[in-house]
Symmetry: C2
Subunit: 346 residues, 2 copies
Amino acid sequence: MKRQIGQQTLLFENRPYVIGSAGIVSKSESEGPLAESFDRIEPDDTFGQDSFEKAERTLYLETIRLACQKSGLQPKKLSALLGGDLLNQLITSNYAARELGVPYLGLYGACSTMSESLLLGSVLVDAGFRSPVACVACSHFSTAERQYRYPLEMGTTAPPTAQRTVTGAGCVLLADRADSDSRYSHIRISSATIGTVIDLGINDIANMGAAMAPAACDTIQKHLKDMNRKSSDYDRIVTGDLGTLGSELLCKLCSQNGISLSNVHMDCGASIYSPEQGYNCGGSGCGCSAVVLTGHLLPQLESGALKRILFLATGALMSPTSCQQGESIPGIAHAVVLEHAEGGEA
Amino acid sequence: MKRQIGQQTLLFENRPYVIGSAGIVSKSESEGPLAESFDRIEPDDTFGQDSFEKAERTLYLETIRLACQKSGLQPKKLSALLGGDLLNQLITSNYAARELGVPYLGLYGACSTMSESLLLGSVLVDAGFRSPVACVACSHFSTAERQYRYPLEMGTTAPPTAQRTVTGAGCVLLADRADSDSRYSHIRISSATIGTVIDLGINDIANMGAAMAPAACDTIQKHLKDMNRKSSDYDRIVTGDLGTLGSELLCKLCSQNGISLSNVHMDCGASIYSPEQGYNCGGSGCGCSAVVLTGHLLPQLESGALKRILFLATGALMSPTSCQQGESIPGIAHAVVLEHAEGGEA
């Protein structure tokens, strides 16, 4: 049983199945180029609640319920829920978990949460500890804005390097087998690489793409080395929310390290909005990569249009307090390999 | 390979070894009954830093380094670091991980973090994904007080149900084998139970013991059922930081459910300070159970004075924002079984 590969990579010998997913977004996301791909669009970003925090929790919960419903699974049958969000003390995730009443593990990886939850969910399923499990990440523009930046009422102008926090949640269901009720039966997770924290000294909190790009580069490098692969062994290398500027930096950094990302790189943050929407460098937030994965990428993996992707959600690990104390912004990226698999049933 | 037992329990067939540990505390903890047991006492709670947040980070980092040093392990050789703290965005843990440069997974379980990290660390080691790994939890009175309650300068009086956040960090090193350099070679982790979020409607943030007791009771019940055991099959059932009042409630709740905890229950929060110190219901914070585990319990497991314990760190999953919005306090408890094992080398 050789599951530890190289420096940072885990090999999933039983290759957990993606059996279902859901992604829910709000108005801004419905006006972007990926609008068609989302499972549900809720134009009212309060989700019928009297606070944005409760709205975010509703979004999180409904996304899990929708993923289960689409896969013919009772939410109560979830053998574990692994998830997180951006709010202090993970209140979105914690209170949603209270409603579901299933075994719950709270994760904090900032915007890297979607790949952290997929990585740990795959570990639990691959080794026979749990199945099925739900892996979730969620963010909301209005809660993030007031917690991390300024009161919404101030109407602050965003600088050109800024990104807009995506209002969205994505949930991926993993299991040790596919069955006929599963929405998906041709997507499997074959390996993953745990990220290390990398900090090159960026301290501009309106330029998170630059802060996270080095971490993404580091994980890509280590993953390729551990797996003895080239970037061209992937149909897509997908980063979470580097945005347009961060993506440029990533390609440059990788190129300096002998890795070509041209033709293969895609960034969820740079893809979710159109330039006309005026959101500067694109989308961010842990919901960003979660909804692009569930809406845009998984269907292509199921159909075989994509054969193998490396999915790296990227996180900026600072807090308003650490920045006020003069700290720079550390980044992290965890990577998960999703593959199209012929056959279906295990 | 049957690793999923009952509703919520994981069986570790390879029973990961605890190969080392460290616990560092500050002045208040050094004046309590467990003072002798801690690896290091740092009377200056700034740890030589210019902010309490940086102090906490130093505490976290030095605890990991001390655990490694005591076990003859280079920190760079850690194959994964799983940890968390109580600060917004886990800045203690994230910035400490930046210094270490090892694969890192950030966890948020409030004061349940020590057992959450032991549970996931055991999963990684048991299934051959990673070894050795470090599992860490840390809290600091002065950072927690100002983030969760009032500015220290106000000198607010604590109500009788309150507990004092422990300034302390604990680190446990797990590996797939014991070797002669290991500090410990007779402690193994045999199973664990993932908690569910339980909320009976307590909304007094100065009474967290009462908020967490139902979650502890729920996990104990499910663990015993899943493992087909009685409470007397354990030398100790150890809860994290219910404090004196929460402990009473737990014993009552368990008794109502047919589980007797008399002679077997111990609460870290109720044990770390003496009543003369005037900290009301005792200690709290995720560092509390972490230092009592590493200082007080592990040596007894190594010697065989304790044969088998159920360790449940307990977490209150609210935030100041959720409480201000009228929410009650959800609790969670994850359980890990640590056993004295004859033999030593695998």
